[in-house]
Symmetry: C2
Subunit: 488 residues, 2 copies
């Protein structure tokens, strides 16, 4: 009966054609692989079969529990070596491991700490004893505290716990709700603030951040930056231009040493909790920065929890200023990082597109908005997908259910990024690539998808077309080297 | 500035038009509401605002924890009163509360129980002491056991725990994985088996099942049935035709008493764990039943855990028999009840469509298959969405992330059903409607969506076009009564 077949069975050729059609629709589905790529693809597929056969499916687990298992996985080690292109959704003060902040930065001279009412900590570097801080204990000089404390390891660990959400305890118990996890999330940023806005630390922090991404085979970054006024040991402060210049200096210093690192561009960003007049000023300032530093400034965004902030439409007049004045200020709005369907905030997706956003940060709710989804696809407005961030901040538990699994299956414009890797206990991009490759894609996602995602990260960057071509040439060299070194 | 507006702000009329366009695309988005419906819609919207304002968002919680809170919600009470049309995805032995099984059925004379090695129980009714059952303790007559036991409440509760997955303990702890929960799920069916396949109980069970749906304002059912050989007290058994005739009798008895109950149709189903020759026989038998009982037989399906069973394509020759012989045997395949993307089982979605399935059971993975999704939409093959089932069986945790939220936003052909309500501690359809209305839809889903879902349940039923019109007339009368009684 195998030989004869049956006319009434759906034609196996039609079936195969439909399967192929669907495979071809996914990200990278139409990329023709070279022979070496095919061999690597087969290896990856075998690794994936082993990975998916294990009883604890890692993308279904909370990242805090899965992290060390992911790191031990052979797929992860290939993904680390893979040239991933650019990381387009990152925030300024969560790109460096908190261990370095504690073990290096807090050990520097003149570092003071106090304990807040909300069980967090604050820091300041100061040549004199700093003035008391409201809602905080009296300052202690860390040098003194460590001299007095027998167990500095314990002290250091407790400091570290304040700078990250990562925990060895049960994350579901520690962070039972979105409110709790967001509250702690915001506390960590306030805790690192006094450390990283001190000029010498700021330089070192950023340099180290670039190093971490470079080591993870990421060649280009776009970073949302608050551009704080940096301070010196005597308490004097600098303006935003100074901050941006430090970014520029450090980037140049880094690329001088590592010429195959392509560079960094910055998206100036402002908390969405501000009022209209502050927002208007922020837009004005962003326009000025964009004019003065067009080669490194990419545009403008708002940051902070969408669900608790004002919707984009509330700020529509401020956001219209650039167009009104004929000034180019690209937007890179966070939008749709919510599961509150049908609220004002949920309208941010559509509004970000109406304001011609260049990309959409997260876009978690995009699938539930067919009109916005269609606009984003047709206008090639890429979604910046940050799987670990969405899981830790409790939008989704099992990453197979992440909406980007659907976007990936349709080759929707998208890139993978890591948002705030240090706060999530991650680094670089490889952990998020792991979640996407194994979690979203299942067996369907193969080397072609990975290649597409890397190419997307350059194509959907804010780089000019000429710069994109240059970046692609550089990436391509890296890619071919990676393939030839890893294909058996 | 409100007066003047600004030319560069995206035109608010365009914005409004796009919002309207998107709203209109959702299920029921184009239904024009009457004035009374509008008033009821406003009431529901206000209830939803209160519901969504509470800190514990119920569709994000496990149903076992949320059930009693849902039952206390004003929205639930409206949904209970609402005429929901038909329940199209149900299984024969999980439509009646297990409390009734224990408190009524196991108290009947001649009821024996034994304890299995796997910590479950088995039952039999018998006029003589039954023969020992392998892998089970010696039989005890429940009447004797209860006479000896001081605390029958405790005994009854422990029996009940074996007949349902529902538990007051932490469900995440009791059912840590899909494997564990599916194993217990299958055990519950084996546990009820000996109770419900005894002829007198079988009649009462089904009659009571109809009553529960009727009381929940469901007017029509399509039930997947295994059609077991029923037994008598003396151990003699009947054939499948007898079973079907009992179903028919009881249905007639019920509709005679409640003429506004529209009826029941049956989908004969076979475990997908069987081999090819058993499957072939099952298809042959289904064709015969379909021919002999065309008015009550709707078609054929396979049941059991998709991830562990054979894919549809494995049975392609058996499934081709009806077409080969020119016999009409509609299929109602479970497909895509999986999160294992890219596996053979994951191909069931496409294959079910190639075999011209009339509906898709669950279709949880449909969004990740754009070709299958498109086929299903264009061929009007409705997806039978069972939210609570998918949550309890651990496909998704927060029901806002259920793929049907997307299907609903696009008015994809779909119906809401409850799969195995008794095993999940639910009854009827109202709990699943609650999860869909509040969980999938957020603020976007309103009375129009509910109306559409009810209408869908008739339009996508197996009823003939003439019968559908009749059913719609009946439903419409009920709907208008519901609206006029509940709109303030
Ligand atoms: Zn972000
Ligand atoms: Zn089912």
């Amino acid at each position: 009966s195998c030989l004869s077949g049956s006319l009434s069975i759906p034609d196996p050729r039609l079936r195969e054609a439909l399967i192929q059609l669907e495979d071809g629709m996914q990200a990278g589905g139409k990329i023709k692989l070279t022979d070496a790529e095919k061999r690597l693809d087969d290896q990856l597929f075998k690794m994936k079969q082993e990975e998916m056969g294990r009883p604890d499916f890692l993308p279904a687990m909370h990242f805090f529990k899965a992290r060390d298992l992911i790191r031990a996985s052979p797929i992860f080690s290939v993904l680390q070596k893979m040239p991933k292109g650019g990381a387009l959704h990152l925030h300024d003060f969560s790109i460096v491991d908190v261990e370095w902040l504690v073990k290096n930065v807090t050990y520097r001279p003149n570092c003071y700490m106090c304990f807040t009412d909300k069980q967090s900590v604050r820091f300041i570097f100061s040549s004199q004893w700093p003035k008391p801080r409201p809602q905080c204990s009296p300052w202690v000089l860390l040098e003194n505290l460590r001299a007095k404390t027998g167990n500095t390891t314990e002290l250091d660990n407790s400091i570290m716990n304040n700078l990250t959400l990562f925990t060895d305890e049960d994350p579901e118990a520690v962070y039972p709700s979105q409110d709790v996890v967001w509250d702690r999330f915001e506390q960590t940023f306030q805790a690192v603030w006094g450390l990283v806005t001190y000029v010498p630390v700021f330089r070192d922090y950023f340099y180290r951040g670039l190093g971490l991404f470079y080591a993870d085979n990421v060649m280009y970054l776009e970073v949302r930056v608050l551009l704080p006024e940096l301070y010196e040991l005597d308490g004097s402060t600098h303006d935003k231009t100074f901050t941006l210049k430090v970014y520029q200096d450090v980037t140049e210093q880094f690329t001088a040493k590592y010429p195959d690192f392509f560079g960094v561009r910055f998206i100036s960003s402002v908390p969405r909790a501000v009022n209209v007049s502050v927002m208007t000023e922020a837009v004005e300032e962003a326009m000025k920065l964009q004019k003065d530093f067009p080669h490194i400034m990419a545009g403008f965004d708002m940051v902070g929890r969408e669900d608790k902030g004002r919707p984009l439409w509330y700020f529509r007049e401020a956001l219209s200023l650039p167009q009104e004045r004929g000034i180019n200020l690209p937007f890179f709005f966070h939008a749709g990082e919510t599961d509150l369907e049908g609220t004002d905030v949920d309208q941010n997706l559509l509004d970000s597109l109406l304001f011609n956003t260049s990309r959409i940060g997260h876009g978690f709710a995009l699938l539930r908005h067919p009109v916005a989804k269609d606009l984003s696809r047709k206008s090639k407005v890429a979604v910046e997908v940050c799987p670990i961030s969405n899981q830790v901040l409790k939008l989704v538990k099992d990453l197979r259910n992440h909406p980007a699994a659907v976007l990936l299956s349709e080759n929707h414009p998208m890139v993978i990024s890591s948002d705030d890797p240090a706060v999530f206990g991650a680094f670089g991009l490889s952990f998020d690539f792991y979640e996407a490759f194994v979690g979203f894609g299942g067996f369907k996602s193969r080397l072609g998808s990975l290649k597409q995602l890397a190419i997307n990260s350059i194509r959907y960057s804010s780089l000019s077309p000429v710069q994109q071509e240059k970046a692609l040439v550089l990436w391509n060299t890296k890619w071919n080297k990676f393939v030839s070194e890893n294909a058996l």
